[in-house]
Amino acid sequence: MVVKLYGQVTAACPQRVLLCLLEKEIEFEIIHIDLDTLEQKRPEHLLRQPFGQVPAIEDGDFKLFESRAIARYYATKYADQGTNLLGKSLEHRAIVDQWADVEVGYFNVLVHPLVMNLVIKPRLGEECDAVLVEELKVKLGVVLDIYENQLASNRFLAGDEFTMADLTHMPAMGYLMRTNINRIVKDRVNMNRWWEEVTARPAWKKLMKMAGF
């Protein structure tokens, strides 16, 4: 049976799950939830995701939400198929988890409001908070210096191989790279090298095609 993913293919959190499914060569079906008309807040979707967000999955009668939990479930269930996203030893898995958690607490917390102001608000005809954008850029620069240092001695965030730690960053990073502040990544040699390498992966290219980017 095919995994059903409820979400919008252009949105970052559904993309996190889709990228994982593509890397793991798992078949799926997207059931479009239209964010522009707030379909995610309607009662039918709230039964799948009580916080009124996307994605949610149904796999037979197994249901799950939270993109990082979904990605981890499929990476574990299909550990022997497609790319190994979790790490090879207990210690390596812990390092993967560490950098995946960094994405939540340090990266996403800054990039999400940046993308909201630079991409989403203009699309909705709302005013961008320029003061906030400047503040967030400064803070993001400090965080990306740490990533730059990590990637100076590691090919990928958690070591020599592409893992969930890299994958989990990619959807929001994709949005950031399409804004007028993408130099914040491009001007950092190792970050730029890492981004070119992870976006050359076939799974990412398929995802971008599906999303029409």
Binding site: E66, A69, A100, V102, Y106
Partner: protein, 219 residues
């Protein structure tokens, strides 16, 4: 050699790790880090955690930061002893534990940490709490607790009928929150209140809570 945890018992993120170690009946050594003297910003500490924060775990030659990555590692390494914090034996149940752990991380934590920051940390810096930030985040927290109230009407704990990391990760911030004048947000929701009281009755909690000593401002 016993695991080393760098940090202090009053820190929320350190307490998260200590609770896990006690639940797993694992020996450890707590190595205090003087935050007021900014020892967490010294090169020797930054070489362990480049983000300059506590906790850091050292287990032989593994150095780990991010409290939830640390709890996941401890729970997995010692999965055969102490409390089953991850339901590792069943992939689907393990995923549900991870789901509600993500909910804590993305929905609960941002709101409650903003409130605690204003009511406890800001006064320690000699400044006045921002009432607008407190109000905005109390409203967000209320909505999250409404979801919890409904979930806890169906299962005893967040991810099912046994205590897991999904519940544990909530404990330290909630402990501080319940000392503020906004404890009603929990107490007015009967299922959430009963869940919280249960979490406070656990032996691991009783060992860690004496270390959570920072007092809130009374507004």
């Amino acid at each position: 050699m016993a695991m080393k945890v760098y940090g202090n018992g009053m820190s929320v993120c350190v307490a998260r790790v200590l609770l896990c170690l006690h639940e797993k009946e694992t020996e450890f050594e707590l190595v205090p880090v003087d935050l007021f003297a900014c020892h967490h910003k010294l090169p020797s500490f930054l070489s362990m955690n480049p983000f300059g924060q506590v906790p850091v775990l050292q287990d032989d030659d593994l150095t780990l930061f991010e409290s939830r990555a640390i709890t996941a590692y401890i729970a997995e390494k010692h999965k055969d002893k102490g409390t089953d914090l991850t339901r590792h034996a069943d992939a689907k149940e393990a995923a549900i534990v991870k789901l509600w752990s993500e909910v804590e991380s993305h929905h609960f934590n941002p709101a409650i940490s903003a409130v605690i920051h204003q009511l406890i940390v800001v006064p320690l810096q000699g400044k006045t709490p921002d009432a607008a930030i407190v109000e905005e985040n109390l409203e967000k927290l209320g909505k999250v607790l409404d979801v919890y109230e409904e979930k806890l009407g169906k299962t005893k704990y967040l991810a099912g009928d046994s205590y897991t990391l999904a519940d544990l990760h909530h404990v330290p911030y909630t402990y501080y929150f319940m000392k503020t004048c906004h404890a009603g947000l929990v107490n007015d929701r009967p299922k959430v209140k009963a869940w919280w009281e249960d979490l406070c009755s656990r032996p691991a909690f009783l060992k860690v809570s004496p270390g959570l000593t920072v007092a809130p401002a009374t507004n």
